[in-house]
Subunit: 484 residues, 4 copies
Amino acid sequence: YISNGTVIIPGASSYNGINLTPQMGWDNWNAFQCNVNESLLLNTAKAMVDYGLRDLGYNYIVLDDCWSIGRNETGYLVENPEKFPSGMKHVADTLHGMGMKFGMYSSAGIFTCGRFPGSLGYEQKDADLWASWGVDYLKYDNCYNQGQSGTPKLSFDRYNVMSQALNHTGRKIVYSLCNWGNDDPFDWAYTISNSYRMSGDIYDSFNRPDSRCPCTESIGCAWPGFHCSVMNILNKMAAIQSRSQSGAFNDMDMLEVGNGGQSDSEYVVHFSMWAMNASPLLMGTNVLTLSPANLAIYSNPAVIALNQDPSAGAAVRKWQYFLDPDQTGQGEIALWTRGLANGDQAFALINAANTSMTMNATLYDIFLDAATAGAYQTPAVLGETWDVYDLWGNRMSNTEAGMLINGTAPTLDAMSMSNSTSRYNATATSYADGLKANATALYGTKVGEIGPMGTFSATIGRHSLGLYRIRQRSGAGMRKRDGL
Amino acid sequence: YISNGTVIIPGASSYNGINLTPQMGWDNWNAFQCNVNESLLLNTAKAMVDYGLRDLGYNYIVLDDCWSIGRNETGYLVENPEKFPSGMKHVADTLHGMGMKFGMYSSAGIFTCGRFPGSLGYEQKDADLWASWGVDYLKYDNCYNQGQSGTPKLSFDRYNVMSQALNHTGRKIVYSLCNWGNDDPFDWAYTISNSYRMSGDIYDSFNRPDSRCPCTESIGCAWPGFHCSVMNILNKMAAIQSRSQSGAFNDMDMLEVGNGGQSDSEYVVHFSMWAMNASPLLMGTNVLTLSPANLAIYSNPAVIALNQDPSAGAAVRKWQYFLDPDQTGQGEIALWTRGLANGDQAFALINAANTSMTMNATLYDIFLDAATAGAYQTPAVLGETWDVYDLWGNRMSNTEAGMLINGTAPTLDAMSMSNSTSRYNATATSYADGLKANATALYGTKVGEIGPMGTFSATIGRHSLGLYRIRQRSGAGMRKRDGL
Amino acid sequence: YISNGTVIIPGASSYNGINLTPQMGWDNWNAFQCNVNESLLLNTAKAMVDYGLRDLGYNYIVLDDCWSIGRNETGYLVENPEKFPSGMKHVADTLHGMGMKFGMYSSAGIFTCGRFPGSLGYEQKDADLWASWGVDYLKYDNCYNQGQSGTPKLSFDRYNVMSQALNHTGRKIVYSLCNWGNDDPFDWAYTISNSYRMSGDIYDSFNRPDSRCPCTESIGCAWPGFHCSVMNILNKMAAIQSRSQSGAFNDMDMLEVGNGGQSDSEYVVHFSMWAMNASPLLMGTNVLTLSPANLAIYSNPAVIALNQDPSAGAAVRKWQYFLDPDQTGQGEIALWTRGLANGDQAFALINAANTSMTMNATLYDIFLDAATAGAYQTPAVLGETWDVYDLWGNRMSNTEAGMLINGTAPTLDAMSMSNSTSRYNATATSYADGLKANATALYGTKVGEIGPMGTFSATIGRHSLGLYRIRQRSGAGMRKRDGL
Amino acid sequence: YISNGTVIIPGASSYNGINLTPQMGWDNWNAFQCNVNESLLLNTAKAMVDYGLRDLGYNYIVLDDCWSIGRNETGYLVENPEKFPSGMKHVADTLHGMGMKFGMYSSAGIFTCGRFPGSLGYEQKDADLWASWGVDYLKYDNCYNQGQSGTPKLSFDRYNVMSQALNHTGRKIVYSLCNWGNDDPFDWAYTISNSYRMSGDIYDSFNRPDSRCPCTESIGCAWPGFHCSVMNILNKMAAIQSRSQSGAFNDMDMLEVGNGGQSDSEYVVHFSMWAMNASPLLMGTNVLTLSPANLAIYSNPAVIALNQDPSAGAAVRKWQYFLDPDQTGQGEIALWTRGLANGDQAFALINAANTSMTMNATLYDIFLDAATAGAYQTPAVLGETWDVYDLWGNRMSNTEAGMLINGTAPTLDAMSMSNSTSRYNATATSYADGLKANATALYGTKVGEIGPMGTFSATIGRHSLGLYRIRQRSGAGMRKRDGL
């Protein structure tokens, strides 16, 4: 039922017609938890506009838990007036005025995870209220669900009530399930939502095991937990990646880049692999204190272009070897690949072992799915020569990032974006159009080629990765087998 | 509840009276995926007639996903008029005129896997339409099932609706469940269907593990997935083989022979073990470009006779040892055996390790079930001498196969089929009758014997197998314990 | 909720008031499968009376599958008139006249396992018919259950319908569930039945793994299967043993003693451990051709007295070590113990490894539960001296067994049973009374003693066991802590 | 959804407003099982008052199973008049008069575990009766539940009936679920109960595996069983610890301290880790024969203060290594930590290996959650100097404990409690207030300090632990980041 690793979606569209590529934005939880208020949201939004993040696609400001004080006598939720003195509609209106969108949080239970009122039993009332405020997005959690879980049907039915309620408002609202992979949402959530968490909560560690995140696979995980590391979550994608599809994405949880628990190269792996797997990209740090280096990671248009590729599919882990463990007891190297809409391929060589390694990617491994898809002859792609682009080759310098933060960077002229190798304005030109136009910023730097049946080699540092896009030399991304 | 490894079925018949031996035919998916149209089906059918495949039993032409464009205003499915300009009834009529039958595809969900309209909620309407077209077969998938899974009861109830709908049409339609072993269909599907997939989707690899097919057992598999190798699927049969029964077969998925991903000897293992296990045999390749070698594999009547044996039961894995892994990290040798309706036994010595091996099959292992079935004395079969036939001994030569493809082969005279060692016409003489008549083509070549309590030895190449039928020397297949 | 390893059952009684100790008898399946008829049942019963088996407690003649030909126009089952020309009531009456009882078979599905009509949906009609025939026992299988499984509730509800139906007849009928441990019957079947199978079907092998019996634990076993060896089933008891209770026993499946697949010492382990674990003891062999050695195994009153002990609880595996594997790849030694109603203890030292071993049982291990049950001081039992009786010490000689078979053995005078060391008449004197009276035949031979805090050692042969009963020297079984 | 390892609970309160810190008291089962009567309860209560245990917080006297003789003609439970000749109300009144509270037992099934009448179907009637007697607490077991389990929903619904019934009485009754972790109560029981057992029954062993307690994890445990050791239960907490919360605690089962199966240092580990994990602390021994050493363990106010800390959260296992197994085959060392309400941290270095070891705790490990919680800079806590208090440093001497038992100890003047290093009166001054007042008895002895980014080292004996509380030198427990 799967063709070359990609679900075939004729007339592809999501259940509600929006979010055809993964949502991007910011959510306060990872950095601020319950410490939320109006100015945090609005100041963050302003910084995101100023730093160019909005124009890279990060346009949702998602307010997480702890914003309400309860329900009023008619059963409607009431925001905390100390935190939100101007009211929620004001927040939404202000964000909209900045070209941003507004996300809201609740739980499919009697309480939110922070024990504020949940939406179970109040779905339509809450959806109506949010729509009246101008909310564009709902993150919908799984706490305090009164035991209404244990089979896919029980979870589907519970989450479907809010799906119907949101649709009934008439407002287009991105519906983001946060049920931590419980009851396998990757097997049923795509017809009622726009994204679905597939693991326990992330924490800011590259690969440290934690007793509170006991599963190493997403499937059949009886206890998603929290404190899951980047590599833990990444590997949980391998089995279920086919269920990421246009409009309905496996959500690997909010990004930790900038929070201090990982090295620069580890954050690069984290950001790259979330992008490669078409995960929603929600910044989870304090934007107002963002370092230049971390801004440079969040701002790489060549990597974001993978995430926003119209193919809308996740990557495939072609191989993985366990070896050379570090002090956490973990060690592995792996090859992940992903087919792109224009015929290009992306691949990542991940070194999550303890020492630097020379790693290889063969054309056969990259195109394994084509080679075993009933082609009854060697696929043409294996006989081509492919140019190799290092997608981190044009990473923004800390100087340039510092100028953006300081407000001293020159304005990006969207009309001449091809003149910049490190900056991009997706508001002006979509990633899809930019790719068609061969926008420099979306391709990194050329670092080599792979000949027919060839192999690409690179030395990859400890806890680092090489991230590449390859395209056919002759045809600039044209597909040989258009008929397929 | 099991006698000598075979379910006792007095007055054996399937739930709908048809498909008493496994269905055979062709399905377009593995080679063509969504690239379907009228001429592909009809041209393929013609080639199958011309090559003798129809008369070997391959008589279903199954049209897989992507054939419709939606439902009309009265809720009936409408075929894609560009792909099927003459309409579906024309396809069915033409196929019937060629002595072939017509198979159709849908899903027990709101969409098919390719996101075309599914049949959930439209079961009777769709069944009626297909019956009106003259459809003979339904492959019924599991995509987009709205979370209606998680216990056998949930899946049974969902698939039973279509079972009842098909019966209600009055037309005999083979009902083939494609739910990938989800919720253990081998434990409940036999009373409502004719076959049931027992694993995630096959891919054209002999034994390469793939992260998208995470289970190594069919039972308790929380994520069937896809990209399952031949050896992965084969071993998933070992635990559940007893549930294959006349009229209701465990379906190991469509055959990959001819698609280019495996060596000739690997395809021989694949085809042999699908036959041994009474799996439906659906060719999954482009018949119009079939090579002589691959036609020779598909066309071995001695192997097909195992598949179509009236015993209608799957093989037993008597032993399995893990050793000598190849570059995929996999390595095993195994003995599989199967009792046949005429008292013969079949057995396969599989070498899925990395080097050639001398392997042994003892009469005790072959007849283990008889020896431990309450006989309270050594079974007579262990004291007999058995002639050993190599079922690949008379494999059709590439020259002969090439003549069939070129249309230059002499016509097979069904009346004198015993004159051919490599070709057979099951349309003229059923396999059951052919076995009774000792048709040469169904027995391969004699390669030895096994004396009382004896052992058979053979050298089996890497990624290859020996496939044998043994029969009692004295009694030509007569059973000693007829009273049993 | 458990005291000293035994469930406390004040006024212990089963759900229907009968079967307070495990049922004993004969079932045709293991040896005859579907080859059943009136004379087989009646001739077997006669032999069981003649050989003294009835008076040892084996009084149920259970007719297994394949006895019916369908339902009549009013929906009642009809027996096969060729197999049962005198009708079922005649069989029951004749058995009753011999002092035997009559057991019947059906399945909680639409078919029996042999595809004869099942009782699902016909429970009351079938129960009424059986009661009218004089049936005393129902073995109720699990085949063709239409997917009505997957949670304990689904299975409980399905099996409860027949439980209510049997009660409604007014006739006392032992209700024996045969659902192979599916959905954990040891967690719910005791309130609706008298015994419940806890594993897949047995086969006549001591410890050979078989791919058709994939689980090694009873709990969480997704596929009970069949072809489970004696050691496989035994070890599946270890976790669930506490759920065996008076009137509702974990059923380890019918005995294979006599069927030829195991050595004499292996059959001794098999019989001993079924007895130790309060499993129903159903002979599963051809009684009419029983060898003297096998009759001697079935007829050991000292072992049956364990099985029929009023304590009605299963044994505890106190330790198990894996070592010294045999040709099947299996090897273990283990200590199992069981507290008895009169204060005695039984223990078994099992050598399922490949060579003879000297094995030890310490008083501490035997009385571990007392030592850790909140005694807040060393339990008195550890400070006592215990006499050790080898329960196989008085095994009937083959000469004596042969005389029983030939009808030349002297009549056992029940009134002076203490004069026989190897024979016993439980019809005349119950095991409980015999134990109180220190009947010689129930104690085997004294082989040593264990002093305070001491250890018992014995050399146990390969695939063999030592089975012992110990009692306090001073008090002849009196309990020190009567107040408890 | 979790902040720094602690669930955020604004206006924290339990579902019924009581039991905000874990219940403490005594339950007769571990030591007396069914051997219950009025005088046992009242004499035990008197001793608990006399020994100072009541004033340490142990104020519930829980009567376990076997107290009833059935239901009367109106369906109400009737107590056993031989065991409780004065009636239950008398017991409750007398306990209340002593400043104690009265706990009662039943099962959410048709029988209790001891086969006395259960409350399934009689919930309101039983709750009303208990309330009329003045019952303050219900332990509600899981035996004989008629298969109403298998998904969280089935168990939630069953247990919720009694929750509603108790609330409906109008009396405040602690509701303690005893369903052994079945169907993951840590995922749903907090909105309907005050505590929930998370494992099979404990037995009095430090770490001996037992076949009757087959799981090593609480999650996905298909068979909780019984005879679970202290270390088995402790490690089952690691994954689920986040679900312990104010008013609703994971219950690790009753304490075995004093029952004779473990060494003094093992009992110290047992008691310390139950306290660290906010488990209910129910004494499970014979108080009337308590030894001075065991009284000293139960009476350590510095350890109880952890248990009763207002943070009401369980500890986190930061690391665990398997090594150096003892005669049971088990061996591990581990670090567990817990944040406390006043900014202090507690940590335990556990040596469950076979020999003495020098063990280290780094500030980084202790504050891992702060370091990875989105702080985007090194947390201030890592840069502080911390004083280290050994919470067993002031363990009561056996002489002092003996005087308490003999009634010769001086009366504790609650007003000058700071004068005692080993005794405390929580009736007079709550633990929260005592901590604020730096009561000596709640802090043990200072044994060192940890500098910025430093490490604490200690030599920990075999089967022993070091249990420490650390506080910031400069701020006496003040939090640096009050805004959070």
